[in-house]
């Protein structure tokens, strides 16, 4: 599978031309230094043209890029001493959720994240990163443990949404999500959330009730996937690009709406181009925010979180007759 997205094609073509010219020069022993440096100049210019001011739809494709780093890609690059834990203690170990203990710059923390698969087989095991109720209950168990032992909680959000299946409904998907929302609201430890890819609906929010919600530059977050919205609004799921523009799903939009606190920049061309650099900037943001939150008492942390979510929403008032 090629790694470039449709709007990146001009860049890929130019890169190919430069490479061909280099190879040709080497074979024929002709000096193309000037031409190559001119083309490299042109490449840089084109690159900033392509990546500056990406549309919401282009960002959506970036967020869904098949090479985009997942929770398990970032964890070893950001933390040390990761101990993965499993299961909800009741029903199963939902692999769409990963988590455990680790240290962030020496500080013990609890990590919980959605986990998409790396290939088809992995994706089938992990339900494409869409948790069943047992996944949310596994996440809740880890977070309750963190709360008990006074460890900060760090979550990575990356899911198309909760799994829409019959067995998920039988085990009460709604309750599992709702329970996470209400319990996360009153934990007395710092909660930091990072939207690293796609933040889809209630399944994303079930890991998203944090004191600070950070978002990668090319991640998206919405109540319903643009594909879902398009099929409901226009009876045509292929109009997802159009829906993406209307829905305000980008980090920039969400910062303006007061839903997130910070945008973490991505390397040019997206997180998948340079995992290590991306992990470094996530780590920096987590550490900085954690240090600020660590000054607050458990009650202040609860109050801070309550205020953050309490103020979200926009409405008007009518004159009463």
């Amino acid at each position: 599978m090629s790694s470039e997205l449709p709007f990146e094609r001009p860049l890929a073509e130019l890169r190919k031309k430069i490479d061909e010219l280099k190879q040709f020069g080497a074979e024929k022993q002709i000096d193309f230094t000037d031409e190559i440096s001119r083309l490299e100049e042109r490449y840089k210019q084109l690159e900033s043209e392509v990546y500056e001011g990406l549309s919401a739809a282009q960002i959506m494709h970036m967020a869904r890029h098949h090479q985009r780093p997942t929770s398990l890609d970032y964890i070893p690059l950001i933390f040390t001493d990761f101990i993965e834990l499993h299961g909800d203690r009741v029903f199963a170990d939902d692999l769409a959720i990963v988590g455990g203990l680790a240290k962030l710059n020496g500080v013990p923390v609890t990590i919980v994240g959605h986990q998409r698969g790396k290939d088809t087989k992995d994706n089938i095991q992990r339900f494409f990163g869409s948790p069943h109720p047992e996944g949310f209950r596994k996440a809740l168990r880890f977070m309750q443990q963190a709360n008990k032992f006074g460890r900060p909680i760090i979550t990575f959000i990356d899911t198309k949404g909760a799994y829409p299946g019959d067995t998920a409904e039988e085990r009460n998907q709604s309750e599992a999500i709702a329970r996470n929302l209400s319990e996360m609201a009153i934990f007395g430890v710092p909660i930091l959330c990072v939207v690293i890819g796609e933040g889809g609906s209630g399944g994303a929010l079930a890991l998203g009730v944090g004191n600070r919600v950070l978002m990668l530059e090319n991640a998206i977050y919405s109540a319903i996937s643009p594909n879902g919205a398009a099929s409901i609004l226009w009876k045509d799921a292929s109009k997802a690009d159009q829906a993406a523009e209307a829905m305000k799903i980008t980090a920039k939009d969400l910062l303006e709406l007061g839903v997130i606190e910070e945008i973490i920049p991505e390397p040019q061309g997206g997180a998948h181009r340079d995992k290590a650099t991306q992990a470094e900037s996530i780590k920096e943001a987590l550490w900085r925010n954690l240090q600020e939150l660590s000054k607050l008492t458990p009650d202040e942390l609860r109050e801070d979180r309550y205020r953050k979510f309490r103020k979200v929403g926009r409405f008007g008032t009518a004159e009463l007759e």
């Binding site: 909760a162 977050y221 008032t317």
Partner: protein, 288 residues
Amino acid sequence: MFKDLFQKKKYAVVPSERTKRDIPEGLMNRCPKCGQIQLSKELEKNLKVCSGCGHHYRLNAWERIAMTLDEGRLFEIDENLISEDPLNFPGYASKLEQQKANSGLKDAIITGEGEIGGFPVVIGVMSFDFFSGSMGSVVGEKVTRAIERATEKKLPLIFFSTSGGARMQESILSLMQMAKTSAALAKFQGQGGLFISVFTDPTLGGVSASFASLGDYNFAEPGAIVGFAGRIVIEQTIRQKLPDNFQTAEFNLKHGQLDKVVPRKEMKAILTKLLDMHAWKGEPADVK
């Protein structure tokens, strides 16, 4: 679309041309479940439950309030909150106007204070006939204010929910109402507050996956469809037909998700009993 059916104020939804001729509109009703024809007056008297098969017709918020609160009296709060179009979403503003005109409501929930069996409560009643009961900023805010009011006044809290899910046209703002309402409930319940949640047909998506599922007691009306994902989405995902009773109150009861399925006729009595037991602060009774 089926949604259009529920935007009508009249309940006489007559399916075919033939029956249209047979039944004078407004006077008679044909039960959508069993087909029994009954006088609208009789149906009203029977709390809009079919006398043939027990099918519970959907109610709008005011009908529900009339049959739940003592003397049907509600002291309404926050009735002036109205939805705006915060994201400039295509078609939202005009759709809102249309929904207001069709339902006579300002948004999908009515909140306030009243009494049930003499016990004062804070109550919220959703209405499917406004925008399919979807939760946007206004619904989230009214629910939260009702919870905060119950917290402040130390009153029991009752929500009757019905909803298609998130108000898509408010995208992320509507999603965040799930967190906002659940956080308010966590506070309320943490202080010993009593919350009784009643699911009515249908309650799905963001409402089901937030405040509505967090009752100390969760009830549902018979036959009510309650779940997270909709049937069609699930069938497409698992590539199988789901059984007819999937996500019904009875199905959910069997799967341990509800405390009780409560017929409409018994609802007020059950609520009163529960409120009475929670209001009890005295000493053990003398048992002889």
